[in-house]
């Protein structure tokens, strides 16, 4: 019930925005987002942005995954 994908805000017009992801664009409602800015990544579900992606948290998660994988490689060798 939760098919939503991250897309980047390209333009904002009032409560609506244009979001983009590798060659596709759509007009979506940004009415659920606090202070949306061009360049933000938002999760798009059924034509609405339902949440802003927290880039800081995203980077931390990837960093953690990379570290885990690195440790696993070191343990193996």
């Amino acid at each position: 019930m939760c098919l939503a994908i991250p897309m980047q805000i390209e333009a904002i017009d009032g409560e609506m925005g244009t979001v983009e992801a590798t060659g596709i664009k759509r007009e979506v409602s940004l009415s659920f987002i606090d202070d949306p800015s061009v360049g933000d990544y938002v999760l798009i579900h059924a034509g609405f942005a339902i949440q802003k992606i927290d880039e800081h948290q995203a980077n931390e998660t990837i960093e953690l995954l990379n570290q885990m994988a690195q440790r696993a490689r070191e343990m193996k060798s």
Binding site: M1, M7, A21, G23, I24, K25, E27, I44
Partner: protein, 336 residues
């Protein structure tokens, strides 16, 4: 022609119909067969190994990124013949036109058919036109039939496939289906996706030259790559295993599929051929495909297996296995 829209008289068999045929079709498709405007094209074929196919075209919208219903009507039939390892030669085209259809659109479609036929090396040698009342068809329906001469001694069939044979495709899959999907009302999607609609006769001949022992070929149309793979091994004594990482995909098609919850492996194609060749001919086939403008992104995507007969497995990028089965109907956009 002074008319701007198709009227019932244009299908009436009289002078108005003749004018339509001459000015829109005959002068664009011009060749020794159609110029005579006779009832049937008389053809001498140099071989008795004849391939014959037919196809109907009802696509909406009539004009889409990368093509139109006219181009499609030629490519669809040409590609069926090419998949049968046959050189496409002659096409017939039958038109059902809705009263009120714009003549300028018909002219564009006819021009597109003529250009595509020229690229494909085929001649449109026979045709028919009917006009139906407003509401009885959606603008224009086209039906084409085609004749080709088989270039191989044996007929292409999945029964020729053996475990270990390599499976190749000539490029990114799913583009046509998503290009059409993106135009649908109710989706409001702007995309750069273009239909891959293209005639594959030349590419097929390049494959045959490099891999003369090719086992089987099929063009992947509705139902996508996955459906062709499923159909190829259904009821057979071999299975198919593909590597997800090797299947060529365009990023915009992937993005549209992720957004709408669709699987690009089941999305339609109109310019993709799947070829199954013996393992020792795979490299040569790949080089030949990549050397052709319609095969620059060709890839070996998997092989036939002895185990899991009749089934298609996909090894995901994570190394797990998932089965590909035939879907019951067209994919629908979903939110779940």
């Amino acid at each position: 022609m002074e008319d701007s829209i198709i009227q019932l008289a244009h299908g009436g068999g009289g002078t108005r119909m003749n004018e339509l045929i001459r000015e829109i079709f005959a002068n664009r498709f011009s060749n020794e067969h159609i110029d005579g405007m006779s009832d049937a094209a008389n053809i001498d074929l140099t071989s008795s190994r004849i391939a014959f196919t037919t196809d109907g075209f009802v696509v909406k919208p009539h004009f889409f990124p990368g093509g139109d219903i006219g181009k499609l009507s030629i490519c669809g039939t040409v590609n069926d013949l090419a998949s049968a390892a046959s050189r496409p030669l002659y096409i017939s085209a039958s038109f059902i036109l809705e009263e009120g259809f714009a003549i300028t659109d018909l002219e564009r479609i006819a021009t597109s058919m003529a250009e595509t036929a020229k690229t494909a090396g085929v001649k449109i040698v026979a045709g028919d036109t009917k006009v139906v009342e407003r509401g009885s068809c959606d603008g224009i329906f086209i039906s084409t039939s085609g004749i080709g001469i088989r270039l191989t001694k044996e007929i292409m069939a999945p029964t020729r496939i053996r475990p270990g044979d390599a499976i190749l495709v000539n490029g990114a899959v799913g583009d046509h289906g998503m290009a059409i999907m993106a135009t649908r009302e109710g989706l409001s999607l702007e995309s750069t996706i273009k239909s891959d609609c293209a005639p594959l006769g030349g590419l097929m001949e390049a494959i045959l030259t490099a891999a003369p022992d090719v086992r089987f070929m099929r063009d992947a149309t509705r139902g996508g790559l996955a459906t062709v793979l499923c159909e190829s091994c259904d009821g057979m004594e071999f299975g198919i295993e593909c590597e997800e990482a090797t299947i060529p995909l365009n990023s915009s098609t992937t993005a549209a599929c992720e957004l709408l919850g669709l699987d690009p492996l089941y999305s339609a194609n109109e310019g993709k051929i799947v070829a199954v060749v013996p393992a020792d001919e795979a490299e040569a086939a790949l080089v030949a495909m990549r050397g052709h403008e319609l095969g620059r992104d060709a890839a070996i995507i998997g092989h036939a297996t002895g185990g899991r007969a009749g089934h298609v497995s996909l090894i995901t990028t994570l190394g797990s296995r998932r089965m590909l089965v035939r879907k019951s109907g067209e994919q629908m956009p979903r939110i779940c």
